[in-house]
């Protein structure tokens, strides 16, 4: 089913948002620790590169006669796209970290909402029929 791919992306993005929250916690706890430098999470660029590589190699093929689902014609494996932690090289700015925390929370809430819709609500709707 096509939406399985969407769920994979959503799960990756949820992991990234959760990781961001942990890194922000680390930055704030160590905001006054001498020698500690701020860390950050890289994810969106990797995902963008993966999607670009997929698009460039052609359309996803759909096999009608037997094999299930879509044949992914693109290069690269979604499993290899992972969020990663890098060092920003400067003392953490608490204000910036708090803003990042607010963003991560909002992103997480919207992702869980979407995930619920796709994987639970729509399936439930299909099983039960639309209640009038």
């Amino acid at each position: 089913m096509g939406e399985i791919f969407q769920s994979d992306y959503l799960r990756k993005a949820l992991d990234a948002a959760s990781l961001r929250k942990d890194i922000i916690a680390s930055n704030i706890a160590n905001a006054n620790t001498v020698g500690y430098t701020s860390k950050a999470v890289a994810f969106e660029d990797e995902l963008k590169n993966y999607l670009a590589a997929k698009d460039q190699s052609g359309f996803r093929q759909c096999s009608i006669d037997g094999e299930e689902g879509f044949q992914d014609a693109g290069e690269g494996n979604l499993d290899d796209v992972s969020p990663s932690v890098y060092d920003e090289g400067a003392k953490p700015d608490v204000n910036q970290q708090m803003a990042n925390l607010a963003k991560a929370q909002i992103v997480y809430a919207s992702l869980t909402q979407t995930y619920k819709k796709i994987n639970y609500d729509y399936v439930k709707m299909a099983l039960e029929g639309i209640q009038r």
């Binding site: 704030i28 990663s84 929370q105």
Partner: protein, 150 residues
């Protein structure tokens, strides 16, 4: 478990900031203490922090990188500030110097109240920032739970 990781880190931050606030209030309370047990005036104390990487803080599961850690913070030690005491002219004071270049002066603690107050505000703000991490972690965990509800 991912949600508790951020909470543990924030808790470590709150403990250290709380301790720092205790030291600061000790400094402020003793800003006028001219003689302690060892004979000298009170010396300013401050906390030295260091990062702590417990196995629970490992990010290997999320990033695939075994070396990735989110760091908590711990108290590495309490250090006495070795800067000079302040000398105030007060020859009638019981603890006034009896001889030497500072005869008639009283040695006062090396504490600047304004600096201590601003450090107190920093520590207090850091404490609040850490506690909002716990709140945020809780919110995100509840949102994740909501996915399976209804």
């Amino acid at each position: 478990m991912s949600f508790f990781r951020a909470m543990d880190i924030a808790a470590s931050g709150m403990s250290v900031e709380r301790f720092q606030m205790d030291l600061i209030s000790g400094n402020i309370a003793n800003a006028g203490t001219t003689k302690t047990k060892d004979g000298d005036p009170y010396r300013r104390q401050f906390a030295v922090r260091s990062t702590i990487e417990q196995p629970e803080f490992s990010l290997a599961g999320l990033t695939g990188d075994d070396e990735a850690y989110a760091s908590g913070v711990e108290l590495a030690g309490v250090v006495k500030d070795n800067s000079e005491f302040k000398y105030v002219w007060d020859p009638d004071h019981p603890n006034a110097q009896k001889k030497g270049q500072w005869k008639g002066y009283v040695a006062m603690p090396n504490i600047n109240i304004v600096e201590e107050m601003s450090n107190l505000m920093l520590a207090s703000r850091a404490y609040e920032a850490n506690s909002s991490i716990i709140e945020a972690s809780k919110n995100m965990a509840m949102k994740a739970l909501d996915m399976g509800r209804g």
